[in-house]
């Protein structure tokens, strides 16, 4: 005789078990958010003649990349490419964990500064073999970036672009203040003291409610300028590939103190949270420093007449901050040479057709595209194309990202007035030591 409660219980357990299997089955369904971002990219399985491409591009950039993929697929390649958009904030964590369980994509994107870390973790494959198989022409890409993509003599990435930090200015405001030359352009002094004086002078000439320079006092942007100025002083690498900290105290402290004057004397208002909006609202700020990706947004602002040029060389040597998007081959369990070679063909196609990518504002890595008439015809881009040759990258080491984060935090505290430049230097060195143990 069975107790009725027994039956009910068994029924309940059965239902739970069914629910559990149901949930497991559900998890394999591809979930795409409103913005087109795929939440569970690992659930997308490649067709036989299909390469899976995990990209971190969204918004405008995402559309240009989507266009390039469609263009490639329209050429009837042996293997088509399926563009899977991931959430940028989760991209690397997803990529690394997916690769570790053998569910990674055929094609990935890496920032050049992140590449050594991916290499160190065993996430990326060297491409020389597959590049040779389809005679990839390495001379078509920017050699400065290619060098940064080479680790222990092997190439791990195809550079797609360089995106440096550049100097934007509002022509309407500066013309009114009488600061443009006959060509209707801004002549920036290429010297630290002269540049500082120039900005002070600009402040005096501008109406009181317009800031001379819009920039945040926290986050990436101040760090990028400190980086550029430190290397303009011909500073030794922050850290070498052998993990030796070479950051020079006197130069670094001098740069920090020089930079802080701009905040202290009202050239850059301190603690602007959303500094983009000040430049974008036409009458908020006369000049603005950020990455070249802002170009395409600025172009679309009605009534904004702006110019752009590279960040001035203030300390003698032309050195700039920039990062670079690159294509990578993530490690897959099969290591299928044919798929890899097909992926190289896609990289080659995108590189050769990257004029589309230039529209997003980036300085493309393909030197032939850069030298083309089409590129020269693009407004603004040609004004800063040369910057790519002067970008200083981290010496390849697996800790660039956490070191960058630590430097940002410390510079942040310095600009907030909570510590001196010397203390900032000391803290950065301590942090780097802690990161690289």
């Amino acid at each position: 005789m069975k107790h009725p409660i027994f039956k009910k219980l068994m029924g309940l357990l059965l239902a739970l078990a069914l629910l559990a299997t149901g949930l497991a089955a559900l998890a394999e369904e591809v979930i795409i958010s409103e913005s087109g971002v795929v939440e569970n990219p690992e659930a997308i399985v490649a067709g036989e003649n299909e390469l899976i491409f995990w990209s971190l591009f969204s918004g405008g950039e995402g559309n240009y990349m989507e266009g390039l993929v469609e263009q490639y697929n329209a050429t009837n390649p042996k293997m088509t490419v399926r563009n899977v958009k991931l959430n940028w904030g989760e991209y690397y964590t997803k990529l690394i964990t997916a690769v570790s369980v053998g569910k990674g994509p055929d094609i990935g994107i890496s920032h050049i500064a992140k590449l050594p870390e991916l290499h160190d973790q065993g996430v990326v494959l060297p491409m020389d073999e597959y590049a040779n198989a389809m005679s990839f022409d390495w001379s078509q890409v920017n050699q400065n970036t290619l060098e940064a993509a080479t680790i222990d003599g092997q190439v791990y990435a195809v550079p797609l672009d360089t995106h440096p930090e550049v100097f934007f200015y509002n022509k309407t405001i500066l013309r009114e203040a009488g600061l443009l030359n006959e060509q209707d352009e801004l002549d920036l002094p290429q010297d630290a003291d002269a540049f500082y004086q120039f900005m002070l002078d600009m402040k005096a000439k501008l109406p009181e409610d317009i800031y001379p320079l819009a920039l945040s006092s926290a986050g990436d942007d101040p760090w990028r300028l400190v980086w550029a100025m430190y290397y303009q002083m011909d500073g030794a690498p922050v850290i070498t590939s052998d993990l030796e900290i070479k950051l020079e105290k006197d130069k670094f402290v001098a740069v920090l103190d020089y930079f802080k004057q701009f905040y202290d004397n009202g050239i850059i208002p301190i603690n602007l949270e959303d500094f983009y909006s000040y430049f974008m609202n036409l009458r908020g700020a006369a000049t603005f420093i950020t990455g070249v990706w802002a170009t395409s947004s600025l172009e679309n602002i009605e009534g904004l007449e702006f110019g752009v040029q590279s960040f001035p060389v203030l300390f003698g040597k032309n050195a700039q901050w920039g990062d670079s998007h690159t294509f990578i081959l993530p490690v897959t369990p099969q290591k299928d040479a044919e798929r890899m070679t097909e992926a190289m063909k896609f990289f080659d196609f995108v590189s050769k057709n990257s004029i589309v990518w230039a529209s997003a504002g980036h300085v493309v890595a393909n030197v032939n595209v850069l030298a083309s008439e089409e590129f020269a015809a693009l407004p603004y881009r040609s004004d800063y194309a040369d910057v790519a040759n002067h970008v200083v990258f981290f010496e390849p080491n697996p800790y660039s990202y956490p070191i960058r984060a630590a430097m940002i935090q410390q510079i942040d505290a310095f600009l907030a007035g909570n510590q001196t430049a010397e203390e900032t230097y000391d803290n950065i060195v301590l942090e780097i030591e802690e990161i690289t143990f």
């Binding site: 942040d412 907030a416 143990f437």
Partner: protein, 295 residues
């Protein structure tokens, strides 16, 4: 005899069947990860997996890591600032909301509502309210009142704590207030009547009746609050991201950064056990106190 035994056996089975789903989930999602975490803390361990056995090195390492101590100190600061603030505020609100008033229900609902919001909502509300240059509510209000100086709440090492603790208190007080209200309603009215007849003023009644009788509730809230505050992470991460500099970075954020930004999951696991130890001690004290008060 045998039927009785069978019945007991059956009862046990039924009980087991009821316990099983919880036990399985508890073992799989709590006990196993705790064990796995200890195992992990003995290795160099990246996102790609195990990299090599290093014994107790991770533990020795964080004892000498000043950023670990800095983060632990920040967490402690948060506990020290937020706990009394939240207790006093909840008590005050409970006393207000418990007064005879036609708006009693409205008060309670109004004080409790922030509790329903998620941490990201309260964090972004805080950020927007504190924006400088007349953009945020506070700055705008100050401008309207004729103050010209800008105050940078999230950049000043002291004000940033005021902001974080203020936001947290606003968010969580309602829940503790409810605990206080239910305790207040348990206090028999005769006590107040008798005291009133003996001529005790309302403030005398508050000090001699209400507060002493609320003591067990206060202890409970104190410990719950201590445990919750030691686990602080999300609102700080969202409001200041640990800044300016590292001035507000709590321990859990440091653990998180070590694991996911610096790829040191083993080291992060080791540090988690330091926090775990603190929480266990607090939980034990709580257990002991509840027993004492129940006795």
């Amino acid at each position: 005899m045998s039927t009785k035994r069978r019945r007991i056996w059956r009862n046990d089975l039924v009980a087991l069947a009821f316990l099983l789903p919880f036990t399985v989930l508890y073992v799989v999602f709590t006990i196993y990860p705790v064990g796995q975490g200890i195992y992990m803390s003995l290795f160099r361990w990246g996102l790609m997996g195990k990299q090599g056995y290093i014994g107790a090195d991770n533990y020795a390492r964080f004892l000498g890591d000043r950023f670990f101590w800095g983060a632990l100190w920040n967490t402690t600061k948060f506990v020290l600032y937020s706990t009394p603030t939240i207790i006093l505020l909840s008590l005050g609100l409970a006393l207000l909301a418990n007064r005879r008033s036609p708006l009693k229900r409205l008060y309670r609902a109004a004080y409790f509502t922030p509790n329903l919001l998620s941490v990201s909502v309260i964090s972004f509300l805080t950020i927007y309210m504190l924006q400088p240059y007349g953009m945020g509510f506070i700055s705008n209000l100050m401008k309207t009142l004729g103050m010209r100086e800008d105050v940078f709440f999230l950049r000043d090492p002291q004000l940033v704590w005021v902001s974080i603790v203020g936001a947290t208190a606003w968010w969580t007080c309602g829940y503790n207030m409810m605990l206080y209200i239910s305790a207040l309603q348990d206090i028999p009215d005769q006590l107040y009547e008798a005291a009133a007849i003996d001529g005790a003023s309302p403030s005398r009644q508050l000090w001699s009746i209400t507060l002493p009788l609320l003591k067990p509730t206060t202890l409970l809230i104190l410990l719950l609050q201590l445990i919750a505050s030691f686990k602080v992470f999300a609102q700080i991460r969202l409001i200041t991201n640990g800044g300016p500099g590292n001035a507000t970075r709590p321990l859990i954020q440091y653990i998180y950064e070590s694991a996911f930004d610096k790829n040191r999951l083993g080291y992060a696991a080791a540090m988690s056990y330091a926090l775990f130890l603190i929480l266990v001690v607090l939980a034990l004290i709580q257990l002991w106190m509840t027993r004492e008060t129940e006795r």
